[in-house]
Amino acid sequence: MLVANDVGIMYVSGGSETWAVRHAFVRIAQGEMVILEGPSGSGKSSLLYILSGIRPPSEGQVLYCGQPIGRPVDRQTVMHRYTEFGFVFQQHFLVGYLTATENACFGRRRSSVPRAREILTQFGLGSKLNAYPRELSHGERQRVAVARALVHEPRIVFADEPTASVDTELAHEICQWLKAYCGRGNSCIMVTHDSRLRMYADRIYAMEDGVVSESSQSQRTAHSGVRALGGRP
């Protein structure tokens, strides 16, 4: 579904060039949950942004369904980000003047409201559908952020350390939701430095100093304890 061929990204700072990612080969198949792990500063987020079409690679090419992903502002790339991809960022980035439901539907059609309510209810926020971000706990805000990534049923969810600032229980819940979502024929790539979440991965890529390698510990089965995320009939 998504393939990165020899991609890399270079940053220029103060006249010196730094390769954050170099010669990366990544493959995400349909229905797969992929974990991209590594220490802070290893280039995980940079690779994620390249894969999702948010940042252009300095070298190499990313293919989505066999077609190269263009520059971030190209209309086709923007369209993919809107309809095909979902994003969970490390911080929730909820909009302060919108309710939980409205945040989950952010940038979507009004017709997505029932689906947003359904997901939020499944995430345990049924009583806080109309609450504003300031009325939600940090964990609740992150759940809304996950709901926002799933409401339009994207084919690939890109999650940039969605569990970084939540407790262990919620971290597992988020992974379970994403795993269940992949079980419906969609895919997910999640950046994390938490090795306890490897159990959810179908494929694991490890990163260190911008170099990607597929982990030998990729686990093909991680269904124990996974709670089903209801989908459209």
């Binding site: 369904c65 909009v95 003047y97 419906r184 089903a228």
Partner: protein, 401 residues
């Protein structure tokens, strides 16, 4: 579990981004839920519309009154006025023989002063024979509301009700230069009647005027009102314009309109300058405030960009938000302006005989650039930031919501 979107590896699905107008949040939601931010902007727009519309309506009042007083008469008739002691009889006959001329009425002209919106303004006094008075009243759309027209040969005058209010006179009062030196109306005239209708003028007795005329013109009259046949004003005026200009002055709708436009050119200029200044000041002020607000919402716009919005769509979003607020402010401004004008009219001007125009299509149109330019200016100031928005850097930052 069902797979909601089956797809193949080989084909990129065709996707379309819906227009910004149907996406959440609605364009008005930010300002609706951030009243501390929206109310000052709303007030700014509304007040600017009130200023423009009020100034426009008052200027319209001045112009309309001046038009009714000085020009409207010439929509129905023209005048010829002697440049000497009187108009020769052969010239009178020549005019009477013009095929498009219906009738000629001898008259004399004077004026009284009233206090208008822009200070002291003249109001015409037409001195006509008693037998011709009805024709003149009909041509001007006037009726006798109270009292009667002046008796022939008597120092009497019938005045329009607005003039009566302005001068605080009523039937039996005396007006003229003897009681008010600002009047051109020579002598002292007793108010015999009150006229109502669109043209704010006075009617006096021609017999009395001629009796008081210092240099007698004998059988000759000094001036005539020339009524054309129905629908033949243009051809009658064309014929009159060919009369020898050494003998008479011709006043037609064209000459009077020219005078009127020239006289009130500065009034119009004042209106346009006021309009332009207010629009520019408000647009710039609101554009800058909006830019500040936008920088407080960078994460929101970065999120939109990251999750699938082109810079153009973000720009359309900004414009629709500002336009929504500005349009509501514009409508509220019109409503407030209407109330202000009504209050001014009822409380101040009506009792002084000054007619105030309410909000008209023209005055509303004068204020229309406020929401339009304001949206454009705001969009322009924010546009550059949007097109250079590095949303990845913003998304990589820390949120403090």
């Amino acid at each position: 579990m069902a797979v909601s979107k089956p797809m193949t590896e080989s084909r990129v699905p065709v996707v379309r981004i819906p227009g910004a107008s149907i996406l959440m949040p609605a364009p008005w939601l930010f300002f609706l839920r951030n009243k501390a931010k929206s109310i000052p902007l709303f007030m700014l727009v509304s007040l600017s519309v009130v200023v423009i519309v009020s100034v426009g309506a008052m200027t319209d009042s001045v112009l309309t009154t001046a038009y009714r007083s000085s020009v409207r008469f010439f929509e129905q008739a023209s005048t010829i006025v002697s440049k000497q002691a009187g108009i020769e009889s052969d010239l009178v006959e020549r005019v009477a023989l013009i095929p498009s001329v219906g009738s000629m009425i001898p008259f004399l002209d004077s004026a009284v002063r009233v206090e208008g919106l822009l200070g002291s303004e003249p109001r015409h006094v037409l001195a006509v024979r008693a037998c011709d008075a009805d024709s003149v009243l009909n041509a001007l759309g006037l009726t006798v509301r109270r009292g009667r027209l002046p008796e022939p040969g008597m120092p009497e005058i019938a005045i329009h009700e607005d003039i009566a209010k302005s001068r605080k006179t009523r039937i039996g009062s005396v007006i003229g230069r003897e009681v008010d030196p600002r009047d051109y109306l020579w002598g002292a005239f007793v108010v015999s009647g009150i006229l109502s209708g669109e043209a704010p003028i006075c009617i006096a007795s021609l017999d009395y005027f001629e009796k008081q005329w210092m240099a007698s013109t004998g059988d000759q009259h000094y001036a005539y009102i020339v009524f054309p046949k129905a629908g033949e004003l243009r051809s009658a005026n064309d014929a009159l314009s060919r009369l020898p200009d050494t003998a008479v002055s011709i006043a037609t709708i064209d000459t009077e309109m020219q005078k009127y436009r020239s006289e009130y050119a500065n009034t119009r200029l004042f209106l346009w300058i006021t309009d332009l200044l207010v629009v520019v000041i408000v647009s710039v002020a609101m554009g800058l405030v909006n830019t500040i607000y936008f920088h407080g919402r960078l994460r929101e716009f970065a999120l939109m960009a990251a999750t699938g919005r082109t810079p153009s769509q973000l720009l359309a979003r900004v414009m629709s938000e500002v336009l929504a607020l500005a349009s509501v402010g514009y409508c509220a401004g019109l409503a407030v302006a209407q109330m202000v004008l009504w209050a001014l009219s009822a409380g101040v001007f009506s009792s002084r005989g000054i007619a105030i125009e309410y909000v008209s299509l023209r005055s509303a149109a004068l204020a229309a650039p406020v929401p339009v330019l304001l949206s454009m200016f705001s969009t322009a100031t924010i546009g550059y930031s949007l097109y250079t928005l590095d949303f990845v850097s913003i998304m990589e930052g820390k949120d403090s919501c």
